[in-house]
């Protein structure tokens, strides 16, 4: 009894690492796709969005975890949404105060962090069942995983679509930008390509005999 209880509250490396690789919110769980596709047309936007989402994720996870004995089960979703919306409003005003340029570039997607499934999903599936510190660690992992995924997309799209990285020109002078990459279809294509790459890596890790047998069957 004591051992199981201990393992439930214990903080392992996995608590933090789960969000970055094994349960990566974007590449594995396919959550929160809207901001991922919409603001990943440059590295700066992608990182800003990642940080804003991580901030909201951390704050709301902490509050949900602290309030967990007081929130009645029937109205928990509504309570979580109000908590999340509060922090998003704060973030919205903070970004507006720091950089108006960034605020305009991200547009409505800062306010739309409220409806990001990752945050509500974490509140419902993790923070409402775990103590404060563990929820915080897990939320930080998820936030970093989300930011990394955004960075993966943002760098490819900015590099191919604009020939720059973080605003610095890195491609040869005669490089023709693939404008399609910074337009909406590019978001779908690049994310699809990343998923293809991960699937390929996953398949290669499995034993080669099985894969050949499967492909022969198919």
């Amino acid at each position: 009894m004591t051992s199981t209880q201990k393992s439930e509250t214990e903080i392992t490396a996995d608590t933090f690492l789960a969000g970055i690789w094994r349960e990566n919110p974007v590449f594995v769980m396919l959550l929160g796709m809207c901001p991922v596709l919409a603001v990943s047309n440059s590295v700066i936007n992608a990182v800003a969005m990642g940080i804003a989402t991580t901030f909201v994720l951390l704050c709301s996870s902490a509050l949900v975890s602290l309030l967990r004995p007081f929130i009645p089960k029937e109205v928990r979703i509504a309570a979580y949404i109000v908590i999340i919306a509060t922090f998003v409003t704060i973030t919205d005003y903070i970004i507006q105060a720091i950089s108006l340029e960034l605020y305009n570039a991200l547009g409505a997607f800062i306010q739309l962090i409220v409806v990001n499934c990752i945050i509500l999903g974490r509140a419902e599936a993790y923070a409402s069942k775990n103590p404060l510190f563990k929820s915080l660690i897990n939320a930080l992992g998820m936030g970093i995983g989300f930011t990394l995924a955004l960075l993966c997309l943002g760098s490819v799209r900015e590099l191919l679509g604009n020939g720059t990285l973080l605003g610095f020109s890195v491609m040869a002078a005669d490089f023709q930008p693939w404008v399609i990459m910074i337009l909406p279809p590019g978001g779908f294509f690049v994310l699809g390509a990343w998923l293809l790459l991960f699937n390929w890596l996953k398949e290669r890790k499995q034993s080669p005999q099985i894969t050949t047998a499967l492909s022969q069957q198919a």
């Binding site: 979703i77 949404i81 509060t86 990001n116 499934c117 779908f188 294509f189 293809l196 699937n199 499967l214």
Partner: protein, 194 residues
């Protein structure tokens, strides 16, 4: 923006700035519920209904918020209204059509977290649309959502018969398809008949 005719607002949300394929709103149900044509169709209808209701509510709430000078509460009150509208539709659907209720399953409550709906409410506020314009905008957005999700479901039903390499199955293939659809919809961007 005040002078935009209603037909233009409708078509703008329907084709030129399609919520799913051009503005990336509502990708979760677009990828999640587009497996079968029938479910996609009902999901589209349910979403359009919620859009219409929440757009009307958002319009009046915005008037109220401006009246009391408490616009910083906009986000919280919008999301609360959307959550209750979804709850209302969920209850009435359970009563009127239990089979549809079961078919939509988990995705019905998830309409609350569909960014297309909150996005619609925020955009119509930002564009300062009047009541009729908001109505046209929400209908256009809803129709655009139905169009996108039904097209996607039709394509995916066909693809189930296709011989696709194992690594491309599932989400990767859906995303590539969505990219092609989005590319097609970019063709509408030049449409202008003011």
């Amino acid at each position: 923006m005040q002078s935009d005719p209603l037909s233009f607002i409708f078509l703008n949300a329907f084709l030129m700035n399609n919520f799913v394929l051009a503005l990336f709103l509502g990708i979760c149900p677009f990828l999640g519920v587009s497996g079968k044509l029938q479910t996609a169709w009902s999901m589209g209808l349910a979403t359009t209904l919620v859009m219409l209701v929440s757009s009307i509510c958002a319009y009046f709430i915005n008037l109220l918020l401006i009246g009391f000078d408490i616009e910083f509460l906009r986000l919280i009150s919008y999301i609360a209204v959307i959550a209750s509208a979804v709850q209302l539709i969920e209850m009435s659907m359970k009563k009127l059509s239990p089979s549809l209720f079961r078919a939509l399953g988990i995705f019905l409550p998830l309409i609350t977290t569909n960014c297309a709906i909150l996005g619609l409410a925020l955009f119509q506020t930002a564009k300062e649309y009047n009541f009729m314009q908001s109505l046209a905008y929400s209908l256009g957005a809803g129709a655009g959502f139905i169009l996108a999700i039904v097209l996607m479901a039709g394509l995916r039903e066909k693809l189930e018969l296709a011989n696709v390499p194992t690594i491309a199955q599932g989400a990767a293939l859906s995303l590539m398809l969505a990219g092609l659809l989005s590319l097609t919809f970019m063709g509408f961007a030049g449409l202008d008949f003011k």
